[in-house]
Amino acid sequence: MKAVTLTVNGVSKTLTVEPRRLLADVLRHDFGCYGVHFGCSHGACGCCTVHVNGEPRLSCLAFAAQCDGMDIVTIEGMAAGDTLHPLQQAFIAEHGLQCGYCTPGFIMALAPFIERADEPTDEEIRQAMSGNICRCTGYHSIVASVRRAIAARKEGADA
C-alpha cells in the first residue's frame, strides 16, 4: 500500500492505495468523479481523459501512485459555478453528443486546443481529437462544437 495525496477539482485528500490502482479508478471510487469514464482501458478511446498538472492525460494509463502530489481536474471541475465551460456550452448548442459516454474525454482532451487554435482547418481539429472515439455522432457535430467554442473565445477576447 502507498500513501498518495491528490488534489482533485480543488479538494485534497490523502489516501492509502494499492499501487496497481489506476488513476481513473481512484477518481471514480475515492473522489466520486463518475464523469471519468472507462472505455477501453488501454489508451485507444480517450474516454478517461483528465487534466494532470494542467495537461490532458489518460487516467487509465496512469497509476494513482504516480500522481502523488499532483493537481487533477476532471469534467466535474470544468464549469465555473453555474456557468458551463465554453466547450460544454458548444457541445450542447451543436449537438456534439448523443449518448454522452465519450463526451467528458473529448472536452478534457480539446480544452487546451480551443485556447490555442485560432483558425484551425477541419484536418487540424480532427487531428487534435484523434485520440478520442465517439460511436454516435460521426464526429461532424463535434468538429462544429470545437469551431463554436473557438469563436466564442475569440468574441470574448474582443469584447
Binding site: L22, P56, L58, A109, S130
Partner: protein, 289 residues
C-alpha cells in the same frame, strides 16, 4: 481491467534508479511515461513484480550538435514536434513523431521508453536505426553506448542488461546538405503502423553522397538496406531510380502477415514508401543546398 499486484518504488535520482535495478533488475520494469507499459499491464500481457518509477527524473533535454542530436530519455514525443530548434536542425523528428499515437499520449510517452519497449513498428526505434544512433545504457558500472543495430534483438526485446536503463538517445545527422522523409501507413490515425519507411539523402549538387533507408514492418526490428543505399551513391535520384530502389529494398524482405496486413501487402507498401521517401528526401536536400 486491472493490472496484477506489484510493488511500486519511485527513483529519486538516476543513481537511485540504478541501485534499485541492480537489486531487483530481473523482476522489475522501469516506468517512464507508461503509455505502452500500462496498457500491457492492464491487459495482463505484462506482470512485473516491481515497478521503478523514473518518470520524475530530470532526463528530458534536446541538445543539437553539428553532426548529432542527443535526446534525453524522458523527452516526450510532443517535445520532438514542438521544439523549434529541433524542427530547424532535423525536421525528420517531428515528421516521424506525428505518427506516434495521439496528442494526449504524445504528451506523456517518452523517447527512452519507446526505445526500451522495442515495438517492431515504433517510430523512435526506427529513427535510431535510420540515423545510425545509439543509446546510453546506464548502470552502477557506468554508461555503455549501445548502437541501434545491437540494441534491437526482436519484437519487444533488447540487448539491455537487467541492471541497465536508457538515459539518452544519440542520432547522427549528415555533415553536408541533406534531406529526410518519413512515411507510414496505419489503419487508423495514430494506430500501430502496418509499415513505415524513413530515408535520409545527402547530396552534393545533383549527386547523392550518402543515402540511408530504414524499413519498419519488414522484420521484428527496424531494417536498414545497405546494398540499396550504396547503389544510390554518385547518381541522381529520378523516379525510375527511386522505383528500382524501392523494389530492390522490398524484394529482399520476408515481411510478416498478421491481423493488419499480409506480407505481400507490406512488401508493396515498403517498395512504394521507399520510392516516395527517396524522391522527397532528395528534393529536400536540394532545397537546403
Amino acid at each position: 481491467m486491472k493490472p496484477c499486484p506489484f510493488e511500486y518504488m519511485r527513483a529519486e535520482t538516476v543513481e537511485h534508479a540504478c541501485a534499485l535495478l541492480a537489486d531487483r533488475g530481473e523482476e522489475a520494469r522501469l516506468l517512464a511515461g507508461g503509455q505502452s507499459l500500462i496498457p500491457m499491464m492492464n491487459l495482463r500481457l505484462a506482470r512485473p513484480a516491481t515497478l521503478i518509477d523514473v518518470g520524475r527524473l530530470p532526463l528530458n533535454s534536446i541538445s543539437i550538435g553539428a553532426r548529432s542530436v542527443r535526446i534525453g530519455a524522458l523527452t516526450r514525443h510532443c517535445e520532438l514536434i514542438d521544439s523549434p530548434e529541433l524542427r530547424k536542425a532535423a525536421p525528420i523528428f517531428a515528421e516521424a513523431a506525428r505518427y506516434i499515437a495521439h496528442p494526449t499520449i504524445r504528451r506523456h510517452g517518452t523517447a527512452g521508453g519507446s526505445a526500451a519497449n522495442a515495438d517492431p513498428t515504433a517510430e523512435i526505434p526506427g529513427l535510431l536505426s535510420l540515423m545510425d544512433g545509439h543509446v546510453e545504457a546506464t548502470s552502477q558500472s557506468g554508461i555503455r553506448p549501445v548502437p541501434a543495430h545491437e540494441l534491437f534483438r526482436g519484437a519487444f526485446s533488447t540487448s539491455l542488461k537487467p541492471d541497465e536503463m536508457i538515459t539518452a538517445l544519440h542520432f547522427q545527422v549528415p555533415a553536408g546538405t541533406w534531406g529526410a522523409s518519413f512515411l507510414e501507413l496505419a489503419e487508423r490515425e495514430g494506430d500501430f503502423a502496418v509499415a513505415a519507411v524513413g530515408a535520409i539523402v545527402e547530396r552534393k549538387g545533383d549527386r547523392v553522397t550518402t543515402a540511408r533507408i530504414m524499413l519498419l514492418g519488414a522484420d521484428s526490428v527496424p531494417v536498414r538496406v545497405q546494398a540499396v543505399e550504396a547503389s544510390l551513391v554518385g547518381i541522381s535520384i529520378t523516379n525510375s531510380v527511386a522505383t528500382k530502389a524501392g523494389a530492390d529494398a522490398a524484394a529482399a524482405q520476408r515481411c510478416y502477415s498478421d491481423i493488419r496486413a499480409t506480407a505481400d501487402y507490406r512488401r508493396h507498401l515498403l517498395a512504394e514508401f521507399t520510392r516516395r521517401a527517396l524522391l522527397c528526401a532528395y528534393e529536400r536536400a536540394g532545397a537546403t543546398a
